[in-house]
Symmetry: C2
Subunit: 358 residues, 2 copies
């Protein structure tokens, strides 16, 4: 086996070593049962215990109660949520409001437009999404909901706090869930694909206020209805058992560290990398300082023709996964929870020490 | 680790040992790359190679060509397909025809009814689905498509051959894909959830005729459009990477054995278990002989109060996963490809040797 890389992929992303080891072992034999994790029945007690513990950890990490919020594990990724939200909650007599902070926020809006009226409430497209849009000073009357993206992986911006919204707030937290303390109770619904912060690709965590679910469209097929999925306890049909188990292992690891420690370490990691970028004259970070993401550091070289040499230099230092999104080029390094301080320091050192002349 | 069980769960089901070992290893380190299978990028060359090889094996095992058929890996399970089929292909001016062979066939019909007119073309509900319904002698004019379920896990019936249909035929093959040789080219589209024959829960294989895709509803959001998913090569958004890899490992194992050997062994396994059932006076199989499934053997005890004793006896013989579906009770044993002749013999012996008096 190669030495473990300093891996900064933006998703599927690095996972804690204990999660990989737990998954690897459970696939051969789930807890000494003689049956693989891939074969345990989804309606049996072993999987129910996984669901129960995962729900408890999600609620604990978000500071929410099971009385008020339901926890769901769904398939289909973010794009599936982009469709389900308006299908369930966009009323024909009203519009949905979208905060346009970049690529994924826009994709959510475009999908919702298939299902009804949508309004862009604010946008930072004018500055190429290099900062977060300002929350609108006033809102249109009677919105069904407001959708936002808390962290923008491609543009490297992050919303430090959730707004207080007068209408139900839906938040895509795919890339920064459980990375800093947040007032999750400001959301009527939040969701996160697993493959950034939580576990294996193939499952999406959805947390929804129970009173919201009661107001959803009652005429959808069960497979598209949040309320029906909650009634079925995430096992309307066979869920992605092993992907959910990988999330449980990651949630346990988070719980052991505490949200306070995780946030502190995330701030330290980001500070290391941004400091190196701000000091090194060959590089720059295009993101406004007050919008910079702790999770995805986006950066460029002043001379794009030096990028390949920097990538090669990183490879020689065992650093991988920093190539920028195919739409934007440059670099981006994901500093999700599972990326260690040591990983971040290795990247910061590479940025500082890179000499384009050698 | 416990000794490996004789496991007859109907899904998530047993997988070949080589698949479990391959998954376990790849999760720690994908092919010596120093990166976990759970972290490899879904748009990188390593995952593209997985998709390419899996597509080639699927087409080879089905005897189809890439020119004529597209291979897709989707999320959401069978219930998701139940909705996508009418959303994409049920024209407003026409109806869809459904063959009612039991629970899942009915669930497909009920979901489709949300999207347009549907007709039950034939049904075996009159005999509690203990046989397959006869193909209708004549079909209504102008159907958009006909949907059928080739193998009925709950009722233990299986369609030995695919019908020649004058309109596009859509087949749910979740529980018997690649278990016997079939004329797959009779289908315009067939699909199978992974967790029975193919791999880990969380991915669904869809194979669709390219000329069919061109006729699909063009106004759906991409996430619900087969055509858009094909255009995106199964990576419209992050797919369930590790679940797809588990399918690749199983497909390789099938390819090594050949479909001929797999079919021969499946016939032998089923013959062993049905023979034991037909001989043992304490048990009976409620399924008509010409409809009996090679994949799911459904059986009952003549005296239901002896069932728990038989389950206990099986546990003592290391046999698990034979409890019947929650809707029907009794027993069912899945004899999917990964269940060995030795497993089937162990179950047949348990049936023969069970003495309710001890």
């Amino acid at each position: 086996m190669n030495p473990r890389k300093h891996y900064f992929g933006s998703g599927p992303a690095a996972l804690p070593q204990c999660v990989l080891e737990g998954m690897s072992e459970a696939i051969l034999d789930y807890k000494g049962s003689g049956i693989s994790l891939l074969s345990i029945p989804h309606r049996g007690p072993a999987f129910q215990a996984i669901l129960d513990e995962a729900q408890e950890l999600v609620l604990h990490l978000s500071g929410l109660s099971a009385d008020e919020y339901a926890v769901l594990w769904m398939q289909g990724g973010g794009r599936h949520q982009f469709a389900l939200l308006p299908m369930n909650f966009l009323k024909t007599s009203s519009a949905a409001g979208y905060i346009d902070s970049g690529h994924w926020a826009q994709a959510a809006l475009k999908t919702a437009q298939h299902y009804g009226a949508c309004q862009t409430l604010c946008s930072s497209s004018d500055n190429d999404y290099s900062s977060l849009p300002a929350w609108p000073p006033s809102l249109p009357e009677g919105l069904s909901y407001i959708h936002l993206t808390t962290n923008n992986t491609i543009y490297g911006t992050q919303m430090p706090e959730l707004p207080l919204s007068p209408v139900p707030l839906f938040a895509d937290m795919s890339s920064d869930i459980f990375s800093i303390k947040r007032a999750y109770s400001r959301c009527a619904l939040f969701y996160a694909v697993a493959q950034k912060q939580l576990g294996a690709a193939g499952v999406t965590l959805v947390v929804a206020r129970r009173t919201l679910l009661e107001q959803g469209n009652p005429s959808l097929p069960d497979v598209f209805s949040y309320a029906a999925q909650v009634r079925a306890g995430s096992v309307l049909n066979t869920p992605p058992v092993s992907a959910i188990y990988s999330c449980l292992l990651t949630l346990r690891w988070m719980q052991q560290q505490s949200m306070q420690t995780i946030e502190k370490q995330n701030r330290e990691k980001a500070a290391l990398v941004y400091a190196a970028l701000d000091e090194q004259p060959l590089f720059h970070c295009p993101v406004a300082k007050d919008s910079r993401s702790l999770m995805n550091v986006v950066f460029k070289m002043n001379h794009a023709e030096q990028e390949q040499a920097f990538l090669n230099y990183c490879t020689s230092k065992n650093i991988e996964g920093i190539r920028g999104h195919r739409l934007l080029g440059g670099f981006r390094a994901a500093l999700y929870n599972a990326v260690s301080l040591e990983d971040a320091a290795a990247l910061a050192n590479a940025i500082r020490q890179f000499n384009h002349k050698t």
